[in-house]
Symmetry: C2
Subunit: 410 residues, 2 copies
Amino acid sequence: MPEFLKLTPPDEARRIFFSHYAPPVDSEWVSLGQALGRVSAALVTAQTPLPAFPRSTVDGYAVMAADTFGAGDSLPMYLQVSGEVAMGAAPGFALAAGQAALIHTGGMLPDRADAVVMLEQTQSLANGMVEIQRAVAVGENVIKVGEDVQAGQEVIPAGKRLRPDEIGGMAALGMCEACVAKRPCVGLLSSGDEVLPLGSELGPGQVYDVNTSSLGALVEQTGGEPRAYGILPDSMEAMEVAARQALAECDIVVLTAGSSASARDYTARVINRLGQPGVLVHGINFRPGKPTILALCQGKAVVGLPGNPVSALVVARMFLVPIIERFLGLQGEKQTARVLARLTINIASQAGREDWVPVRLMQVDGETLAEPVFGKSNLIFTLARADGLVRIPMDVTGVGAGEQVEVHLY
Amino acid sequence: MPEFLKLTPPDEARRIFFSHYAPPVDSEWVSLGQALGRVSAALVTAQTPLPAFPRSTVDGYAVMAADTFGAGDSLPMYLQVSGEVAMGAAPGFALAAGQAALIHTGGMLPDRADAVVMLEQTQSLANGMVEIQRAVAVGENVIKVGEDVQAGQEVIPAGKRLRPDEIGGMAALGMCEACVAKRPCVGLLSSGDEVLPLGSELGPGQVYDVNTSSLGALVEQTGGEPRAYGILPDSMEAMEVAARQALAECDIVVLTAGSSASARDYTARVINRLGQPGVLVHGINFRPGKPTILALCQGKAVVGLPGNPVSALVVARMFLVPIIERFLGLQGEKQTARVLARLTINIASQAGREDWVPVRLMQVDGETLAEPVFGKSNLIFTLARADGLVRIPMDVTGVGAGEQVEVHLY
């Protein structure tokens, strides 16, 4: 009695779903202080060059480089000090041939100055002269106008998760606000007659609702706003009422099915009643997460996850996270979330099915090792012991100790 | 004219500072919904076993395994169906020899049942009997009481950054709240006569305040609460007044020194006036970040950073982040923040100095490559193009193309 007529391979499941799901990115402006971790929703173009004026990168003397040619320890040159450049102001004077100006790091070069001699390579003299002990080339110790960024240059693309670096870059351009993607509201529906809310007194056969908390945290971590719709009894009618409400109020809806076979069956039927095209993928050929459902109803993503908390969290990382990222318009960030490591022991796997195995990472002799953290898929603390998941591809029957594997970090 | 009498190597600088800095962790309780990314401040011990009752991991028939011995496709066994286990309740009956009970995934085994036969390996018969087509061993398809976690077991240590996994684990134990380290308040003081707040109109020689935004985002990312104290003029008196106020109001104080040589000098003097023991490290032998100051005043960490925004952000990642992590009581998380990669081109470096070079990561033919993103250290958008930093150790004069390097991810 197969539960699913056809199991779809994971990559194919994503391809099918995302060929239907490409919502336009909805944006809002937030202050730079609120922008960390948000995803840029518009290309940032520099309105002014950076720097906007020629700056010294050292403390020293601004000079015309030609005046220093030939200078050295044994044959210093002597220049007349025409003044000192105050920080935060235009120098107010230009250099003439044979002149130098005292300048600080970040200071603006006087007109006609084209290089700076480091203070350590000069000697201030009593008669208003400075001894130059080393020749400098044109542009030495100077950042030219636009050397960091030119006016009109594209500096931050749309679809980038904003780090302190991008926020610093926007501040350098004087931007007070960033245009970012709105966070999707993600409705979370748990179900199961045996599932009780946190804080309840458990009777025999009852368990706490894990998924609302763990999936809620994952949604928040990815940049969405979780909204909990509570725990539904094992009833198709109750699920449909709650799912309709969540679909009306949220951008993405996640149903964790009850454990019973009938609940797994009717989740797909409920989703199909919510709107067209309905269920796109039902049943994915990987472990743990076979009963996963990917659906699109009224333009909104609806995901059916296994009720088991460990499976739900693994599947959510593989399918819900990319959906939230697509909603946010996030572009290519995956490369930094993977690490190559050597497996410490053999892992067996069934050919024709993709397996995801939790591992703990260790650094030994400068090499990264991945040690599988075994446990039945129902054990939530198996995941709490792991740093990431190793993918065992569909076409192999396992991976041997010492082989290199790609660990997807949490 | 050397600015610093003695430059301390980076590892030694950390060792000196942290031998003085070990504040006790201050804790608070937050709801699970607020716990993501916070650091646990107390060991979590399971008050009840998980699971709290023997559970089926499949849909099928709960049996006494001995009753199925010898069963197979060609020689099935027949058992009497004594009932169905409802989800979320005790079965209300015990098995007798020769009996089986219909059970769903996650259901509680009846007394005396010790295994479950998968539904696919059974055939329900009309006469209240079930045909068992495969023998099961004791414990097969069952999670025993305490198999995930035993009562009294230590499940989450103090000092762990809480991920969705740990939050799920706490929910499974029925915890509504988590005991986490209080966030440190981190006071940020910018300085420099040339530095203007965002939103100002810039004149010649003036630049925007980048550090308050970029360091604020880094503090937030690490788990602290940034508090901005604005931009100070290049004046020792103004810095001392502001630093005293910040030290009184915050847990950690960060001063970004003005660009002038005198400002760099008096930052250390101001810090030494704030309290004992004062400056512990002044001048660190790495690039970019030579003028870094690490200090302890009245038990609080005070950090002096270079005013240049790129240097300030790199130094803050190397020295301010570990200070915030120590304040939070964070234990060993560093292994997941590094990636081994092969360098695409040669990087030269000065022997006797540690260099940190921004790189972009690429995956090519299953291998991780690190491509240096060059730029003068003053260029803020250099960092925005990078995924992480490569450390060039003190004792080498560079690293060649094709060599393996450790990339510290942002």
